[in-house]
């Protein structure tokens, strides 16, 4: 990254960019916080209904996806580590592994959605699940789609970002001294993992 005219040094420019990134991450946290607050209110009001509804969540897929995302955070960290050591091919390989894990997450999520929709576990007024009355349960189901849907959009956006980073890494844009873009992309990917760390127990483990 070249030095912009308003900065004395590249170090200062990078420090500013990192601050900007953490402010962005803070705003992302607050975006999800709105949904977590809604969840808290309805979970408190309808504990039995949420428990019954979560019993129909696909615990196996949810749990596998938890391990998938935790592992993708590791491969992301190792990609940056490889860049610091000047290992270009290793960087690209770890970025591709992270992309593969992100895509695997999305694919499993799609299987899950298809399964639920076929059963009538649909959000809002589309709710048509025969085994449970909609009262309270429909709130869990709607929040499930809102929270996991918003998160899946973040995963998908992250995959696109990682593909761009892998292309740039392949081109040799990142050096051990200067790889800020890669670092910021890594921070974003870890945040996506962070959100899922909370979604998993709240949506899958209360059943």
């Amino acid at each position: 990254m070249s030095l912009a005219p308003q900065y004395d040094s590249l170090a200062r420019q990078h420090a500013t960019a990192r601050l900007g990134m953490w402010v962005f991450l803070g705003s992302e946290v607050l975006l999800f916080a709105g949904l977590f607050a809604l969840y808290a209110a309805y979970r408190f009001t309808y504990p039995a209904e949420f428990h019954a509804a979560a019993g129909h969540a696909n615990l196996a897929i949810g749990t596998i996806n938890t391990y998938v995302l935790l592992t993708s955070s590791l491969t992301m960290a190792l990609a940056i580590h490889a860049t610091r050591n000047g290992q270009r091919r290793r960087t690209v390989a770890f970025l591709l592994a992270t992309i593969a894990l992100g895509l695997a997450f999305d694919a499993l999520k799609a299987v899950e959605y298809a399964e639920h929709l076929a059963e009538g576990l649909a959000p809002g007024r589309a709710y048509a699940f025969a085994a449970l009355p909609a009262h309270g349960v429909a709130l869990y189901v709607t929040l499930y789609y809102l929270m996991t849907g918003l998160h899946a959009l973040h995963v998908t956006g992250g995959v696109v970002l990682l593909a761009w980073l892998a292309w740039r890494a392949q081109r040799g844009d990142f050096t051990p001294e200067s790889h800020l873009t890669l670092e910021l992309g890594g921070l974003y990917w870890h945040l996506v993992d962070l959100v899922w760390i909370f979604l998993w127990p709240l949506l899958y483990l209360i059943g």
């Binding site: 607050a37 592992t71 960290a77 890594g186 209360i206």
Partner: protein, 100 residues
């Protein structure tokens, strides 16, 4: 600078905590299961933020930004819970239309 080994150790810790969460929530269930699962989630999040995102090595101004965002989440969620938790007490003083 952390080593490959240290990253692998963090990953193993995260996987272990996730597995503990799974079994604890199955064994406890209900409200306590959720509280234990949420507490472990906070520990996992702390691991990711400090060991993968290296927030602890950043400047104080930067740590403050993220800490404030997390603090706001706590205020928001606890405020909402205090509200819904106090509904029964409030309904003793007001009727369905909110009149005293």
């Amino acid at each position: 600078m952390p080593s490959t080994r240290s990253y692998l150790i963090v990953w193993a810790e995260l996987v272990a905590l996730a597995t503990i969460t799974l079994f604890a929530s199955r064994a406890l269930g209900g409200g306590w299961g959720l509280i234990v699962a949420a507490a472990i989630a906070v520990a996992k999040a702390a691991l990711v933020v400090t060991r993968f995102m290296h927030l602890t090595r950043e400047r104080p101004a930067l740590r403050l930004v993220f800490a404030i965002a997390v603090g706001f989440v706590a205020i928001l969620v606890l405020g909402v819970l205090a509200d819904v938790g106090a509904r029964d007490a409030a309904s003793a003083y007001v009727d369905e239309l909110g009149r005293p």
